[in-house]
Symmetry: C2
Subunit: 242 residues, 2 copies
């Protein structure tokens, strides 16, 4: 058996599958490379047969944890050096997944918040709208981390969640990416009307939707998928320079 | 340990990494799905630290076979049910990879040719231009299969390979996808001037380039990546209906 790769990003994906592909595309786009061999090595479990995270947290569906643990166990077989999960809501089960993983697991909110100071550097009185699932908003990962930086958050109200975010999210999952992006764009406009100067795209279905509609909000967004990609590329380049 | 998935596509990727992402995107786009859970389960070894296939076949670089076999061995650990390789040139080592794989390996030329009769159905006297690496053209996989269907091929000449195909291919690999697409578009125009009515994109770097330039040739092309994607989706839907 060949020796394990020293550096190998494992991706616990499939939530949804397009969000995983968006991550892989962003890793490649963020990598300065002259040849194939300079790109980041990635192993991907893009197996979407995982019970719906939003329904599970709403108490109306099965737990995704057994399927998530199966994915971690498969990635463990590949001798990965890092594990990332391009789905914010799945981080509800972060502790259990971290316990099961042989490789360290990055928390998507930590990686995303690391981008905030760069993006908001010099912006006077920024207010950050958070676009996320009910489960992610209820967990408070982003609100707490932004509060620790003295940054005010603007959250969707219940009506905006039901009429804009949730249908937008499921539109992307069924391939209606532009329709989803239009709903996310409307939600962004509502958050801006309530004072948001910037957005955190704290659900990985959002960026593909906004990209499909060429949304002007992307320029003022911190995208959790992009943050994961940049983190991977930075670590890869560090070890390549060693 | 959970029981192995009954259906799980394994992708031996990284050649180049963007071509692999293009395949994953095309699998999703070709899948009618209302929910995440209806999408094709895929495990991907997108590890591009594989010696350059074109240089190896030209006798000026190391063999990629050990790295390819390592990838197969990793995918074997995941209990995949099918193995696909989104790189035509890598099929030079098809027999060795098939011997090493626990899952059956699909030959990209077989899957691509299966699309030819659909696309060319009713076209009088079609002539098919083949865009591919020197290695793929020398192997003759596409020319032989087309000849068996009594379809004439149009091949790039040596100057077109050196000035258009090869630089286009390496442009895509270093992220200059539009520049690569422009070169591929020029090559397509040359093949059409010599009588090609349709194209086979027999190198997986070509379709992303032509897509980035919104090439009109795509509408008259049989894309080997798209063919792999459609094959996977058809098998997935068959087993889902059982």
């Amino acid at each position: 058996m060949p020796s394990p790769a020293r550096f190998l990003v494992g991706v616990l994906g499939g939530m949804g599958p397009l969000a995983t592909v968006d991550l892989l595309q962003k890793i490649i786009a963020a990598t300065p490379a002259e040849h194939d061999q300079q790109h980041v090595p990635v192993a991907v479990w893009n197996v979407p047969q995982i019970p719906d995270r939003q329904r599970a947290l709403a108490g109306i569906g099965a737990s995704p944890l057994p399927a998530l643990l199966d994915g971690v166990e498969r990635l463990n077989r590949l001798d990965i050096s890092h594990l990332i999960i391009p789905c914010n809501t799945a981080h509800h089960w972060f502790d259990e997944l971290q316990s099961a993983s042989l490789a360290p697991v990055l928390h998507i909110a930590d990686v995303t918040l690391a981008q905030v100071s760069t993006v908001l550097n010099g912006v006077p009185a920024p207010r950050v709208g958070v676009i996320a699932t009910h489960g992610t908003l209820a967990a408070g990962w982003y609100q707490q981390r932004l509060a620790a930086l003295d940054i005010e958050t603007v959250l969707p109200d219940e009506q905006e969640m039901d009429n804009l975010f949730v249908p937008g999210c499921y539109a992307v999952k069924r391939g209606e990416v532009t329709a989803g992006g239009q709903l996310f764009g409307q939600l962004a406009a509502r958050l801006a009307a309530r004072g948001a100067t910037h957005l955190i795209l704290a659900c990985t279905e959002v960026a593909p939707g906004l990209a499909a509609t060429q949304s002007r909000w992307l320029a003022r967004s911190i995208d959790s998928t992009e943050a994961l990609a940049r983190y991977c590329v930075a670590r890869w380049r560090e070890q390549a320079e060693r």
